[in-house]
Symmetry: C3
Subunit: 271 residues, 3 copies
């Protein structure tokens, strides 16, 4: 039998001991677990960014327990949940939308429990650190073989909070998309793909113009290509990124800074 | 038998290969060891911060070997030690106070050896990287089952350097506390707890005023509550944090910047 | 039998999920592998820095598969390779010089394959994330026991790209060296060692002067000593660092900022 796998995503960062403490809790409960840190660099309290990262990575992760904590409402009214997916994975985290995109990727939620008062929580529960006191010990118990029903009270698996994301549009040959993520290289990920580009009449290999929401909307040229190195250094390129979304990059540069856009910004692309 | 656990705390950061090199050394000496990185983001050479983090996390870590390296005096006169605690844990690191708070949490030091000339050190020993050449290999040997007495020369277990921390006071209904740690969220941890607040006549649920050491001492209002979300965004809250110390936060903000305080600053709280 | 070890170095940073996704891919292919993160903080696209870090750390790492990804040419013409070394290690990464210094340390390359079209790659291969789709799965297959010949097409083991590094010189009692790496403490590593200092007539324990390439070349005094703590706080010291190269540090300070030098800068040292 393989050792069980727990993956762990959070916005805790690595400067403090929060992540290491959760690892310690897991190791005490389930010494055999292999913990894979997906990332702890999700922008602070950015539930949407965390949800997108978890969903994009999920197909590349072993089937296991997927612990995720981006939790601006910790200690408040939001529920803490563990959710079993159609493909056998179990998600553990706050019920604030963080888990919802991954749940869809994993075949939908087929069973869920509220773990706020789980018998496996560490008491007393700190109102500010549910990662240590609720999420990590429950995830470790599930990895150890505990049934979901032992971990908390059953809740409607269809009733978990879902994220509302913006939708891209095509109007008069213009693709109106939105920035959903900026990575550490400054690459700008959009909520559109190659199909929307085709609907705007734009095919790979051509020159396009990009304009952003900031006034004055000065259109800048870019090339719709395969990868960064298809354009000279310092020039803009639009390409399908590793999550199969359109992204804008600058070869050997940072597109987000050059375009002046961040998460949520509107970006218009046309011939 | 479980695989042995080594936890590892340092101020090396993760931008260089120092941490990974120590992991490599450990894996060569004790391939079965599971290494838990507690954190490597301790502020550079801040022995006190490292000591506080290690002590706060210790109860959540499996009993094992606890490697800690915040070592401004590396290559100088300070001793390198391994110390066995009353609860069976072994601490390994410089004898500069870094281990002293954790030793107390773990039941006190019952045996100690000076490992500066340990037979298990890697030679030649670099005067600037004892983590790699002394601390990591000795920690790994202990995890492999070596007795403390094999690792170095016995020293007085009561003679390890202890840290002097400031003490909070209550004077005329004013709690005079000190900042001992600022985490990456900007939350400000104080050296006082709920008992000192009670002695100052302040009970949970009330409004208080905070003044800091910086002149002019303009008192600012805050709420003494359970957690961040008990106050509106951008407002100050005092609460018991996950290490059971009083802390000051700003809901969805950074208290340290807002108050203009850092480690060591004096903070006064009263009704 | 020991679990196989894979070490992993990159410039991906830890703010995004790139590293965690590669860990997931490895765990799916080779669940028994122990992955040691050497560092993911190599300066972006700095192939030379990555090559130096990997080569310096290699002797401290268990013999295993050494995955390294600093890959400004991803998706372009550069080859992707796996290379077996004389000491039994296998390097996996782009053939852009990144692996070349480590190959020398490990006894030279004795066999190599081009893995760009490896049967073990994940398809479709993203043109921007070969770490996930080519390098990680191939490294994991090798750790699982796959022969190099199964992983790709044989290439000339002597034909891998090698890095050209600057060479230090001694002229008229002046050592002319170059900065090859600046660590996160601001310590400045040079491409010279104690032998070159001796050839310039400088022996340990003496005062020297340092001048840098920036005009006007104002010489600053420094002490040639054993370690930081051999000089008072804020003063410059030249010492043999943990990779046995000359380095310049400021006790409790950052030499790179104080001298105004970065990677590639020329540094002159004399009595």
């Amino acid at each position: 039998v393989r050792d069980p796998v727990i993956t762990f995503l959070s916005d805790y960062g690595l400067n403090d001991e929060f992540v290491g403490t959760c690892h310690g809790v897991i190791a005490r409960v389930c010494p055999a677990a292999r913990v894979i840190d997906l990332t702890h660099g999700v922008p602070r309290q950015d539930v949407r960014a965390g949800a997108l990262v978890l969903a994009a990575a999920l197909p590349y992760l072993p089937v296991g327990v997927h612990l995720a904590v981006v939790d601006p409402g910790v200690g408040g009214e939001r529920r803490a949940v563990a959710a079993k997916l159609g493909d056998g994975r179990v998600l553990v985290g706050p019920d604030n939308g963080l888990l919802s995109l991954a749940a869809t990727v994993g075949g939908g939620c087929v069973a869920a429990v509220d773990i706020g008062d789980s018998p496996f929580r560490l008491q007393p529960v700190s109102p500010t650190f549910h990662g240590r006191d609720i999420f990590a010990p429950v995830a470790a118990r599930i990895a150890s073989g505990a049934a979901l029903s032992e971990c908390g009270s059953p809740v409607d698996p269809g009733g978990l909070l879902t994220l509302e994301l913006p939708h891209p549009e095509v109007l008069d040959g213009v693709l109106i998309a939105h920035v959903i993520y900026v990575d550490a290289f400054g690459n700008v990920q959009l909520d559109a793909g190659r199909e929307e580009m085709a609907r705007a009449g734009v095919n790979p290999g051509v020159e396009v113009v990009i304009s952003t929401g900031a006034e004055p909307r000065v259109p800048v040229p870019a090339r719709y290509a395969r990868t960064f190195t298809d354009v000279p250094p310092a020039e803009l390129v639009i390409y399908e990124d590793s999550a199969r979304r359109l992204a804008i990059a600058v070869n050997q540069g940072a597109a987000a800074a050059q375009l002046g856009v961040g998460s949520g910004a509107e970006v218009r692309i046309s011939l």
